[in-house]
Symmetry: C2
């Protein structure tokens, strides 16, 4: 079965907005980061725009410089459950770290979210390269390779647990006193270098078979993990050529693992600053830029490069900074490329990042934003985007009311939700259960 | 300030109901255990009855004999978040194990639930004496003393993290670019035998200061943990005398730790089978009893005693079974006392337990149930109860519509919610923040 390629748009509800200064905008409620109503309202707007899913980043630690701007805060699966109760269709993707959790707990939490939401859950698998996080779990930051080896095994265990009940294991026959069929509920008996997990899970297979797996694989290890397990990849889109090369590389790796290369949905991050004219958009960018404390922007970029950058000359070209080995490798490399391409001074770079971490920022009219999205989509550099509006929810509202209609007019984006589960919306097949016998498969086909 | 002692009633939404056969009742939906709507509807009924809180038990494992009856399944904080969205007042207490979690994750999840629900969250601290659970986390069942030593340190770390932001740490001053006051956000730098946790938490102090801590402390270690940390104790109420002695012991231990002995709310479990006449109630008990598969009841009791009991003579008196050292010590002792007092045969014991684990079951009219509750409350054997209706939600509906009005008439139970947070409802003071200076305390007084 071939079906027309579809554009996918997730909304990254990144506290008060992508811009580090979003909370200081006159549009913003400074308390929004800690207010569940803010997340629910944003999700409701996204659902009005028939977006694919809400995406929540996460980090189990207080970030550096919390005095200057909001940070990742409320526990994401709790936030998504509240959103699930207020919405009907939109997907629910939460980040959770494989370095500071146990597979049984994660498998169970996301399967519960999938059951509770009728098949809308996704898990963004991250390894969390942050010493502030590891210090909350009695560790120093594990090496890159160790984090990814653990993540790979962790993801496999979770996937096995999600299959530990066959689809028809629940019986519920009152007369026969038969609650479930024990022959269709399987121990996984996993034994590996990082985990020993007996299983089975204590709840039925969830509506999607398995919740959607998302990965943001920039490094070789990350790409490999994504190629092996990810349904959706949240990438860093620098420019069309690099993004297409990245997507091609990912699909080639997936094919090498025996997967259908079209079964990975690649969604680069995309920060938007929208104005009704180009001049208005630029003015908005300038206003938001001016509200970012310079010492915050320098410290944030210093985190990306794993070194103090406060000694750099603000009005000289960005020097050749070394790429960190165990940290934000992908973002550091993308940022350096970006500075080189634009021949930027350090001050210009800080300004153009918007206090962010290296995701692409576009500034313009709704038409220009739609053109950019279309160009990337048509070129095969992206299957869609993980949207990061400058300020929330206002920047999202403008996107939904002014960019989405253009995308719909052009036949690029849906105007209603046709599919029931998030997996179906992404055009991905329901995974067969690894424990089911061929007879079961035939019966359920 | 003295205030009149208040009766407290929590509803334990134990899947399809307390009776092991609840799911087979004509009243029950056999799928209810996995249906979020079942939990939400039950909570809505409980809120109509102005009950104090919803209580969810938990165990991160599939229980034995899952083929014969429902078991603990959906992840409780997800369930409570869905309930929070559908209700306004009722408290939200979830069980989470200290043996198979990390303190930072638990502190964050419950603080988030408290923020999201406006101060209604509680955490029931358990150590999970179940080898099925430890096998899902690469362990064999830790010794009793080890589990409790870890639980004690775990609870301390969580409590410190909940204080890591002073109440007025959030500033949100847009003009001054001051998001929070870093002098009021504290690392905890905990280093102990089980945990090293730097902190601080990545979210503000929650509405209750700290979510309510619940403990079910039966053993000496358990009572000690409860006396040290618990706001509410979920106990096993065998009879008025033993329950009063237990409550007295707990309050004496709390006083020895320098706590106000009245600051612990003791709520024994109470399973109810209600009929409009005594005969009808007994008939209901018989019908539900007859639907419990005998091999399930024997296996369930065998779990409590940590040994296979299938060789016992059904119609002979219950023999002197040894009390397990590392397991359900409290329930085993209570069950044996119960069998002795009634001079019960093994079959009679199985029948009277309702397929349960040793919590007291009362069978009767709404008047009789209200009389029993009043007698225990007046005698100081209980500050209220953790209610476990035979079948859910029907058994709860009958309680709310027929027992609650009697308790209200007698002036024993509230007719509306007067307090904002669960902590206030339990008559407990908001805990001062351990990091606040005396000047802050005066300012906030």
């Amino acid at each position: 079965m071939t079906r027309r390629r579809q554009l996918h748009l997730n909304i990254n509800i990144l506290h008060a907005g992508f811009y580090a200064s979003a909370w200081r905008s006159p549009e913003a409620d400074p308390h929004a980061t800690f207010d569940i109503g803010h997340y629910v309202r944003s999700a409701e707007i996204a659902e009005r725009g028939t977006l694919d899913a809400v995406f929540l980043a996460d980090r189990p630690a207080l970030e550096d410089k919390p005095d200057l701007r909001p940070f990742l805060s409320l526990e994401p699966t709790v936030v998504l459950t509240a959103i699930a109760a207020a919405t009907e269709h939109i997907g629910l993707i939460a980040t959770a770290s494989t370095s500071y959790n146990e597979p049984y707990n994660i498998a169970r939490r996301f399967a519960t979210l999938d059951l509770v939401s009728g098949g809308r859950a996704g898990w963004n698998v991250v390894t969390t390269a942050d010493p502030n996080a590891s210090a909350n779990f009695g560790q120093s930051l594990p090496e890159h390779a160790t984090r990814y080896a653990r993540a790979k095994e962790f993801t496999e265990v979770v996937s096995e647990l999600w299959d530990s009940w066959e689809d028809d294991a629940f019986v519920g026959d009152k007369a026969a006193a038969r609650f479930l069929d024990p022959a269709k509920v399987h121990r996984i008996n996993h034994k590996g270098p990082f985990f020993e997990v007996a299983g089975p899970l204590n709840l039925p297979r969830s509506p999607q078979g398995r919740p959607i797996l998302v990965q943001a694989g920039g490094s070789g290890d990350g790409r490999d993990l994504a190629a092996l397990h990810a349904d959706v990849v949240f990438s860093v889109g620098e420019d069309i050529e690099r993004a297409r090369a990245y997507a091609d590389d990912l699909r080639t790796r997936a094919a090498a693992y025996g997967r259908d290369p079209r079964s990975i949905v690649v969604l680069p991050g995309l920060a938007t600053v929208i104005g009704s004219t180009e001049a208005e958009a630029k003015r908005r960018q300038e206003e938001l830029g001016a509200l970012i404390p310079l010492d915050y922007a320098i410290a944030r970029l210093g985190q990306t490069f794993g070194q103090d950058l406060s000694h750099l000359e603000l009005d000289a070209p960005v020097p050749d900074l070394p790429i960190p080995v165990n940290g934000s490798t992908t973002f550091a490399r993308a940022t350096l490329n970006f500075a080189r391409q634009g021949n930027l001074t350090f001050r210009q770079l800080l300004y153009k990042l918007g206090g962010g971490i290296g995701h692409r920022v576009i500034v313009g009219t709704p038409e220009a934003i739609a053109d950019d999205i279309e160009a990337w989509f048509v070129a095969g550099a992206a299957d869609g985007f993980n949207l990061m509006p400058d300020v929330l929810p206002t920047g999202l509202e403008v996107f939904v009311d002014h960019v989405v209609p253009i995308l719909r007019q052009r036949g690029l984006f849906r105007s209603h939700y046709a599919e029931k589960t998030l997996r179906e919306r992404f055009g991905l097949p329901r995974p067969p259960n690894r424990y089911a016998t061929p007879a079961d498969e035939r019966a359920s086909a």
